[in-house]
Amino acid sequence: MANWQWFHKWGSPRWFYQFSGRLLPWLAIPALLLLVGGCVWGLAFVPADFKQGNSFRIIYIHVPAAAVAMGGYMLMATAAAVHLIWRMKLAAIVMKSAAPIGAALTFLALLTGAVWGKPTWGTWWVWDARITSVLILFFLYLGLIALHQAFENRDAAARACAVLAIVGAVNIPIIYWSVEWWYSLHQPASIKFVGESTIHPTMLRPLMATLSGMYLFFGWVLLLFVRAEIIEREKNTRWVQALVSDK
């Protein structure tokens, strides 16, 4: 029983609210530093690419956004499983909060990719395997958000979405694999991603900075969403009212 203590503590919204309050600055400051620093570094100090000119610099947003969007889904599915198995309310809140952030980042990846595609490929959009996968990921996020909205009842919404998130997580590898296969079946000769390995170390270092910055940023925004949701849900409890009257 004793080693379950931490679990119950984490499950308590009140405790989590107080704990996360202390955590916030430790996420926010490095996140902003890394993101802003990485971007400035990438935009101002990295030499232009000999093939793509300056347009490649969008990579410093594009790649982190795409990577974190993927990771966000997995986090959401994990929270969903925790909620279904242990009935942990906090997990439901995390799941619900992660969805719009993940969807926004996916959208950002799509948008930056499209903006990048225009100068590089001469078109906003191509049906490349990776791009298609990201689009489907976006749909998965949207479906989840729509399902959550459709429920009038919060608990039922959380549990239904948890089932869907897990079903989606089981499907993601299948989807990726099938889209990859679909693309290689068609083999359009004209357009391909440049091999990832060719990226120059001087370009890579700022990318690493913005990538880790994006992860921290995700964590920070997630905490903000979760905290807002906790306050909303517990608005009638004594501790929240005390909190409000203190301010």
């Binding site: 191509v126 689009l135 479906g143 729509a146 459709a150 359009p188 004209s190």
Partner: protein, 225 residues
């Protein structure tokens, strides 16, 4: 209370109910988006090929999205028996039905038309067609809403609406589909696109004048079973 005020009240409740659940206006949109992106997966990613098909695909899918949204137009009211209240109103049915159908277009056809340029880009539609696509969809989805409403009214008393509706309504949709996609294709090919658009506008006028009568009659029949 004048007819205008009553129409406004009907419209207002429907919009309120639609916005409160959000899904009512966002879902046809997302459906449109998703099904359009299914096609490249089924057909293949080649750009040239997609560009040729884009007007047809977008129009067919817009038609399906509009049709699926139409299914719920009177069903909710029938199930909760507010439809009875509407039919027992001492006012003429024409403006009431008109308001309901217009409200439905506002939350289904309108957002869909506004989103269409995005989809057109994804499907590699040449940019000359974008404006005409949007206009043709604005006119066309309004006609579709009115035709669909007739079907919805006829099937509302039956348990399984969805597919039956599509069977009744699809043949009537066909002229809209033909002129709508023809307008877009003409615009891309640099030909005159105004004639098909004018036909769509004429269809809309006819639907505005006649459809509410048919809808009202169909509703009375559906309730009396």
């Amino acid at each position: 209370m004048g007819t205008g005020a009553v129409m406004f009240a009907v419209l207002r409740r429907d919009l309120q109910a639609a916005l409160r659940r959000g899904s009512e206006w966002s879902n046809p949109l997302l459906f449109f988006l998703m099904v359009c992106s299914l096609f490249p997966l089924g057909i293949g990613p080649e750009r040239q090929q997609l560009a040729v098909l884009a007007p047809g695909i977008i129009w067919v899918v817009a038609l399906l999205a509009s049709m699926m949204a139409t299914d719920g137009l009177f069903r909710g009211d029938y199930d909760d028996a507010t439809l009875e209240q509407l039919l027992l109103s001492p006012l003429p049915l024409y403006p009431l039905v008109l308001a309901k159908t217009f409200g439905h277009w506002l939350v289904s056809g309108l957002p869909l038309s506004l989103l269409s340029p995005l989809l057109a880009t994804i499907l590699q539609l040449p940019s000359e067609g974008l404006a005409v696509l949007m206009v043709s969809l604005l006119l066309g989805t309004a006609v579709l809403s009115f035709i669909g409403a007739i079907g919805a009214a006829l099937t509302v008393g039956l348990r399984k609406g969805g597919l039956l509706l599509s069977l009744i309504v699809l043949p009537l949709y066909i002229p809209v589909l033909i002129f709508g996609s023809a307008a877009v294709k003409s615009a891309i090919d640099g030909m005159a696109y105004l004639p098909p658009l004018a036909v769509l506008a004429a269809l809309l006028m006819a639907a505005l004048a006649l459809a509410p009568l048919a809808i009202g009659g169909a509703l009375r029949i559906s309730v009396d079973q």
